[in-house]
Amino acid sequence: MPGPEPTLSILIIDENRLRAVVIEDGLRDAGYTNLTIVHDVVGIARRIADVSPDVIVIDLENPNRDVLESMFQLSRAVNRPIAMFVDRSDHSAIEAAVEAGVSAYVVDGLKRERVKPILDMAISRFNAFARMAHELEEARSQLESRKLVDRAKGIIMKTRGLTEAEAYALLRKTAMNQNRKISEIAEGLIMAAGLLAPPEDK
């Protein structure tokens, strides 16, 4: 199998800087060195003309996809015809790309074998990024719920004169009885305490 061609020029358009870096790293690791990253599509026509990319990778969330396509239509900024994706008939490749939230525009005539690994890489990096963002979100919400439980414990300890362990046991028992998450019980308790508390520091 032939290795990647470092000369192949790839333009990455992504408003999410972190994701753009993730894709760039992936492509660099795979041996592509001629990469350009653009975050902002203002003046993109000029950039495309300067870079003269063989492949353009853009995220689907970018509202400027219509703008980009119309430029291809006019064929002024890019004076070569452009086809989207690797091959119009390659339905599974297109589907995988759209699922991942990435879209690729490829200069017509560029062989499919040369573009496929780039698109595959972009897709796997997009997916990896989505996973990472999801995990980050989960970690954040776990942290949030621990904070809530700590505050609820504090309230119970103060109002009922219980120890920390007893306060936690009470929260857990209530959660189990009501078949709810302990963080939900804690949140409800904090809200209730807020409503009932005397307006001391207002």
Binding site: E61, V67, E69, Q73, V98
Partner: protein
Amino acid sequence: MTDRRPFEIVAGFMPLLDSAVLVAAKEKGFAAGEGVDLTLVRETSWANIRDRMAVGHFQVAHMLAPMPIAANLGLTPFAAKTIAPIALGLGGNAITVSVALWERMLAHDAKSDLNPATAGKALRATIAERKAGDGAIRFAVVHPFSSHNYELRYWLAACGIDLENDIEIVFVPPPLMADALAAGTIDGYCVGEPWNTAAAKAALGHIVTVKAALWRASPEKVLGVAAQWAERDPDALAALLRSLCRSAQWCASPQNHRELADMLSARAFVDRSADWIMHGLSGMLDVGGGEIRRVEDFFVPFAQAAMFPWKSHALWFYSQMVRWGQVEHTPENAAIARETYRPDIYRSALMALGVAFPSANAKVEGALTTPTPVGSMGASLTLGPDGFFDGALFDPDRLDAYIEAQKR
């Protein structure tokens, strides 16, 4: 209702006033009432709508009326066969220019009356006084295959403005139009509501004319339907079309406009002030500086057979694709355009509702100067007025002659 499972349908849409019929179908329960479990997905670009429909994420979508035609003609980078069995209303667009350009037009007798002929004349005079090196006036539209692109060009050309040398047309997503005007990257634009109101309210622009004045009762958005899915599941499509018809009736009723405006203003939909949306719904436009102008038929969701997919509409869009060099005119291409619109599906789906629909599949566009009763099935039907502002007629049976005449 029978006890069969609901039809699951996913529809893509863009944040615009004319997503109203789809949004209300879901939110007011018209879809559920027809046994359709409708999921709406807001999109960020027409390109996404096209792609996600092609890979099967969406069975149907809110689409620019020329988009399915362009897809079937193979003019877009990627598209699956798409049909248009129902329209999502008539009108809804306007043309806005920057305050700076408006002031120059005022010096040439522009009036705040939305009249396309006088506005065009003022713009032409403004262009004529430009000095060498001033550059072209730059207008934005949302998409190459959009009624905005064609009606803007139609207006400029009919007013004797040279599109080759005096005007540059660029593409900007609807929610970014007012920003682009503010940044000075464009001098004006043609877009659907509420994105004209957006510039007028921010004192960034002035609305100079409206789609309803350029071509009264003219087509704007359709429901694009994946042809493969339509063939596989005709009952689901028919149920959806019935629900859209009921929804459009609801949307058209002035007493529902406030509720509809509130609904559309939600973050999941247009995500802008309900007051902005009310201007387009009521046809009482704020053209700029708080000046209110009443526009007849600004946005028509239901009356005048607004949902009927006229083959003459498809062919007019096709004639403009030819006019502006997007496609070559051949009998085969014309047939592809004509067959994209499917009044047959519309009729068979809506027959049971007893709503009025025309007995013809095409009409001479621009022929009606007054409201006119026409041959219909079901209830009685009144069409028009539907004139082009320059008095031209489009007879779909004389397509070749129309295309030929536009070359001059």
